[in-house]
Subunit: 496 residues, 2 copies
Amino acid sequence: MPAKSTYTALTEHYARLHRYHHLSAILGWDRSAMMPPGGMEARAAAEAELNALIHRHRTDARMAGWIEAAEQEALNDFERANLREIRRDWREANALPEALVEAKTLAEARCEHAWRTQRGANDWAGFLPNFREVLRLAREEARYLADDSGLEPYDALLDRYEPGARAADLARLFGEVRGWLPDLVARIRDKQASERVIEPVGPFPRERQRTLGLEMMKLLGFDFEAGRLDESAHPFSGGVPEDVRLTTRYREDDFTQSLMGIIHETGHARYEQNLPREWLGQPIAQARSFGIHESQSLAFEMQLARSRAFADLLAPMLAEHLGAQAAFEPGNLHRLLTRVRPGLIRVDADEVTYPAHVILRFEIERALIAGEAEAEDVPVLWDSQMAVLLDLDTRDNYRDGCMQDVHWPAGAFGYFPSYTLGAIYAAQWFAAIRRETPDLDAQIARGELSAVFEWLRTNIWSQASRWETPELVRRASGSALDATHLRRHLETRYLG
Amino acid sequence: MPAKSTYTALTEHYARLHRYHHLSAILGWDRSAMMPPGGMEARAAAEAELNALIHRHRTDARMAGWIEAAEQEALNDFERANLREIRRDWREANALPEALVEAKTLAEARCEHAWRTQRGANDWAGFLPNFREVLRLAREEARYLADDSGLEPYDALLDRYEPGARAADLARLFGEVRGWLPDLVARIRDKQASERVIEPVGPFPRERQRTLGLEMMKLLGFDFEAGRLDESAHPFSGGVPEDVRLTTRYREDDFTQSLMGIIHETGHARYEQNLPREWLGQPIAQARSFGIHESQSLAFEMQLARSRAFADLLAPMLAEHLGAQAAFEPGNLHRLLTRVRPGLIRVDADEVTYPAHVILRFEIERALIAGEAEAEDVPVLWDSQMAVLLDLDTRDNYRDGCMQDVHWPAGAFGYFPSYTLGAIYAAQWFAAIRRETPDLDAQIARGELSAVFEWLRTNIWSQASRWETPELVRRASGSALDATHLRRHLETRYLG
């Protein structure tokens, strides 16, 4: 019997890490969806213990030698790709000195905690000192990651969320979008000004919304043998690929928030549920990136569920579960789900104005990390770009301006671009699906969604982290990432 | 600054173990109450990983030296008691050779798994070979534990569930009970034969039962900031002291099962929720034993909730939540909740006949471990004692006879006595409470339950594992454990 290869030892190490992550994922879901408030202190201690264990495991002193030795072994392509992902994880776990990790944890916890009340109080002056410290440490972090990887500092942050993405490419891509977006928004607003939309009349009882949501998940192929739907204050998709935990939140005066939220999260869920089982437990079997993940939720929510064809499918479901009313006529329903209204809040934005929110944040955080802007410059940058991009005045309104998101107080620089990358990927996927299935809309209207699911399964879900992102995009869609698909999609849907 | 004592190092080691147990408890609750079936395989692997971690931690090679060194240090009484409990845990974790643990795990899993279908098929012959192997390994286990502790083999098994309990004492105690029980049952049956009981008429919708259950938990002092109620196939009290997770199961044709089950589990829950917080994380802060735990659930379910006074309190709650009906008249309600009917199934037994089920099992398992009986002798022992104790014929009915419980297939010898110890303890606690509060029943009928709660808090909950069980009993009730209290309680309630 041949001696066990070093590569095999590495995969066993990562299989164990996968099991630790399972514990962590279910406990995190429980904390958000189930735990009573009094459980918090003991839970925080228990989760910190688990996180410390996971950190020790990821930074095991033997890893460097194992990775080096495994790279000399005879490995097939899959194994090489897995080793690449193992190296990425190991590098990320080891890049920062422990003192910096601790300082970041403290500063971010302090800043985020205070932000929770400062936001409501519109207290930018109170927020600024904490935020300065978070930014200082994020810059330090970026320098460490950059030294380690050879990337530019902001690219090194970006790489954690979107491996392979570079700020220069994003600047080109987003630059294109900001070139056509303001005019597009204006033309859509003009067109919609003359449209009449009948508002749905509530209340919509929580239990009926839940039943509707469950039926929608079924229609969208969610596997209830391997997941469940619950409630939480901030909806999310959690759990593990073998047991995906979705959450939503019901408002009895507006069913669309919960329904579209469930559709969004189901997109995330199907990606997880359909990751390749034969590699499960290895880094290669994980979802590719935040942006690719978001492309699944947006493919479901934006590309599919807000299409005109889907309104034909949705209308009778609404009538059945919520009672028939004029607003549920398919044409009206579609108008309702595609209204464009520039607004201050990113999470409430429609799919047309959403990229503006992200581009603004990308440009500011890139400048912050590069040292081209300081924390105190954020409001003026914010105000000027909101005026340019969406023609909105945010002066002195920090609460609904630069203080609206948790990302920066929490030190998550480099995260925002994933949202709009997701929207661009999703448009590119659907362009490919439509090429392959010319009668897609007719199929959707009949409730036949397999063309969508099979394309995503073949090209995205089953590929997991087999390829680096640009290669995944080329293999899936036949070309490099291209914002033209998003533009065409928006023009067709909103002006066509 | 003085060097950290070895005792302190031990407490830190155990605080970490407490946090690992937190993870394990919440995941176990999730598996039973939340997890979809498809999650099982991955969950089993993740939980096995955690169990292995916990086992490594409990058997840390440094522990022996630490314990020995700590015993030489200047410790106060609390610390000495905690060290005693640490030693107990460490001894239990180390007593068995790994090969035996593995063999037991395999044999028990095989036996229990097959039992799940064999029981329904009444297949004693199919069950016997697996059960023989489980028994063989349990005897081996008992010998190891006995060698390690200096106890008799069966006592060594018993000690894991009821520290300090000895079979000889139980034999005396249970011998007394079996002396008066059959005659008592007969007299009660005679008396009840002429009583008229109006049956409640269902259905009782699940949601109403749930609301009733939640209100009952509130009345019984359950802290919803530190726990919750859900559903599972087999109701239990899980979670951690800071976050107790109860479950129940609703039958729409019979609300009493869920209601009395919730009251029972709330007794367990209040013990956990009121363990002393200042010692939390240390073995001394844990519940004393299985029997003492059961004494809390039975104090709530049997002593309190099936009392005549409690029926006055319960009647209007039932009418409010389930709709008024004749069966909810307090006198009728009390008769309904105190009907005595000898039956084959332990878990369905009333409080009068229950001890018979336990005494029978205790006598058989003690003989099995001592080698005075073999696996194949179980049915004949069972049949003869069921006839003597409850005048029931179980011949050839293995399904509702000796194959009814999971405990033996799962290798849990020594567990059964805890149930009846719990009933005897509970009767002794209530005798003490009644001495201190002569108008207890009037208070209960008015919904004033603080006399019960305060006595339990002072004498049981807050004491946790501060004392060994016999000392706890003496301190709480003023005398050693005495089955006379149970007898008096049953005679007063059922014949008085």
